[in-house]
Each structure stands twice: as C-alpha cells, then as structure tokens.
C-alpha cells in the first residue's frame, strides 16, 4: 500500500506549488501513472481522499492519467496482443528482443486552484 506515501508526496508537491504563488485552495490535481510503476490507480485515488480529508483541500479531486508501456519488436513491430500488465522483453510471436518505451511515468502533470483573493471577491 505505498499508494498512501505517493498520495502524500503528490499533495505535498501541489501544496508547495500553490504556496509559492500565494494562498489558495486546491481544486484538482492531474497525475500520470505508468503501467510499469507498480501503482494501482483506484488505490491511489482512495489514498488521496484520505490524505486531503479534514483539511482545507478536502474537496480536491485527483485525476489519474494511465500510461501504458509501448513494446516494439524489431521484426514484428508493435506488440499489441498482451494482457494488461503482461509486459515482457521478449516478443511473444518470434521470441526476439522487445524494446519497452514509457510506462514508468509517476508524475504530477498540473493542478487547478482557487486563489484566496478570488474567493473573497465573489
């Protein structure tokens, strides 16, 4: 269950980003999670809710962008027919080596927040 640690890091990053720009409330954050990152998106969202609950950002949403790994065989081209998570470095068709690209994403992409001055101007 390291999703809780990851959610804590995501929130820390978001909070630091907002704090650097002045006081404000986090509305949503978008993260990129790769297929090879050993992270379960549903658990990450669940952990996120636990991390933000009770604070000023309790309503903040976490959006997870899922990034599959791309596997390419020099002979057969892109390896498409595989079960999710079944990523190998050997082509299931010809047994040749497969290049794996991407899928290790673990990034905060962007966030939306409401500055306190906008809040009071309403």
């Amino acid at each position: 269950m390291h999703e809780l640690s990851l959610a804590t890091e995501i929130y820390r990053t978001c909070r630091a980003t907002i704090d650097a720009r002045g006081p404000g409330r986090l509305d949503s954050a978008r993260v990129a999670i790769g297929e090879l990152a050993a992270v379960e998106p549903e658990l990450l969202v669940y952990a996120w809710e636990a991390v933000v609950s009770g604070g000023r950002d309790a309503a903040a949403r976490l959006e997870v962008e899922w990034h599959p790994a791309r596997q390419t065989c020099a002979t057969c081209g892109e390896v498409k027919e595989r079960a999710p998570g079944n990523w190998l470095r050997i082509c299931p068709a010809c047994g040749g080596p497969v290049q794996v690209a991407g899928g290790d994403e673990l990034d905060v992409i962007d966030l939306s927040y409401t500055p306190d001055e906008e809040e009071t101007a309403k």
Partner: protein, 222 residues
C-alpha cells in the same frame, strides 16, 4: 480558478535524497545492495551466510527495514557486524530519507559493502531508489515459480535474482527452468543465482558476484 503546470516526478524528493546517498556511498567507496523479496524468503538468512563467508575479510554492515521488532538487526549484530534497524511502523517499504536518517543516527563506520534489507514486500519497495548500486530480488522455492511474471516490476528492476532454499527443491514443485525463462524475459542479461543457506549451495557464487561488483565500483574511480 487557476491552472498551473507542475511537471514534476512524484518521487522527486526521494530522488534528491537518493542522489545524496549515492554520492556519499561513492565517496566512501562502499558497495550498496538493496534486498527485496516477500516476507520469509530468506533475506536475513542470506545475509547471515554472507557474513559467515566474508565477514572475516570484509567490513560489512546492514540497515534492516521492518514494520516491527529489532530481530533482524539483532541476528546480524550477533555475527559481529554493525546493523541498524529502521522500524517503519506500518509502512511497506523504505525510502531514501529513512536511510539517510538511519546513517545520521548510527554511524556504521567505514564499510566495503552495505546491505539494505527492505521491508518484506514484492511491490512497494520497487519504486523507491535508496541510492544503491543494484537491487536484488530473492525468491524462495516454496513461493512457486510463477512469481516473476506475477510481480514483473521487481524482477525487471533487479540486476540479480537469487533463488533461495534450494535444498527444499526435492520437496516442492518448483520449476527452476520456468523461473529462468521468466527472469530472462523480464530482464535480459540479468543474473540468476540458485542458493541454499543451509547447504551452502551458491553462496560462493553470490560472494564472487559481490566481489566483482565491488572491484568494478572501486576500479571505476571514486
């Protein structure tokens, strides 16, 4: 509402802490090995066998990660090597900051090899760089031969897979050839060692591998 591009690795803070550790280990010319496996596959037992084989010649030390109890560090201290126990209190993995704090609290002295024994778990420790030279994954024969494909991330990231408890192979249905094929598929060029701390099988090869990696690290300049 204001949108801000963040574009930052989630584990950026861990990466910074790991880079600091890596520089420190390079300056100390210490080889650092991060041991990852499920609970009970024999990480501490492999370390005990390693200390018995190399302890007289090399300065070895260990950082032990567990949710509770000092038992692992106690077992290694009993063999005469410095060991520090990190209690994670429920967390399923070690991170680089914990390792950094452990080294601040407890000076293990100059070391040839530092072993970092992670919390028993085949998933979560995979994501956290601890500044190590390489990761090893342990797989005991009683766990079954399907584990590399079921937990692909760690077997792809580990430079070495160590099969443990090989002396039990006659009593369980464990297909070593399948493990070899799975590990090769996930990590072409990776090393697979077959060991038993009970009979001593493979321990010499394991120690030779450590010796080679240490020589490479020191030969490559510090």
């Amino acid at each position: 509402m204001t949108q801000v591009d963040v574009r930052q690795r989630i584990l950026a803070d861990n990466a910074v802490a790991a880079a600091t550790l890596r520089a420190r280990f390079a300056a100390a010319r210490t080889l650092v090995v991060n041991l990852i496996s499920s609970p009970g596959s024999g990480k501490t037992t492999l370390l005990e066998a390693t200390v018995r084989a190399l302890g007289g010649r090399w300065r070895l030390g260990a950082i032990e990660g567990d949710i509770a109890t000092d038992r692992d560090a106690d077992r290694l201290r009993a063999l005469g090597i410095p060991a520090h126990q990190i209690l994670t209190g429920g967390s399923c993995h070690l991170d680089a900051r914990q390792v950094g704090r452990a080294l601040e609290e407890h000076d293990l002295g100059p070391l040839d090899v530092l072993f970092i024994e992670n919390v028993g778990n085949l998933v979560c420790p995979t994501s956290y760089d601890l500044g190590e030279d390489f990761k090893i994954a342990l797989l005991s024969v009683t766990e079954g031969e399907d584990k590399p494909f079921k937990y692909p991330s760690i077997f792809a990231k580990a430079a070495v897979t160590v099969v443990t408890k090989a002396d039990l192979m006659p009593y369980v249905s464990f297909k070593l050839d399948e493990v070899r094929a799975q590990v090769t598929a996930l990590r072409p060029g990776g090393t697979l060692l077959v060991t038993s701390a009970t009979t001593g099988q493979g321990i010499a090869e394991w120690c030779a591998l450590l010796e080679q990696r240490l020589a490479e690290k020191r030969g490559g300049g510090s």
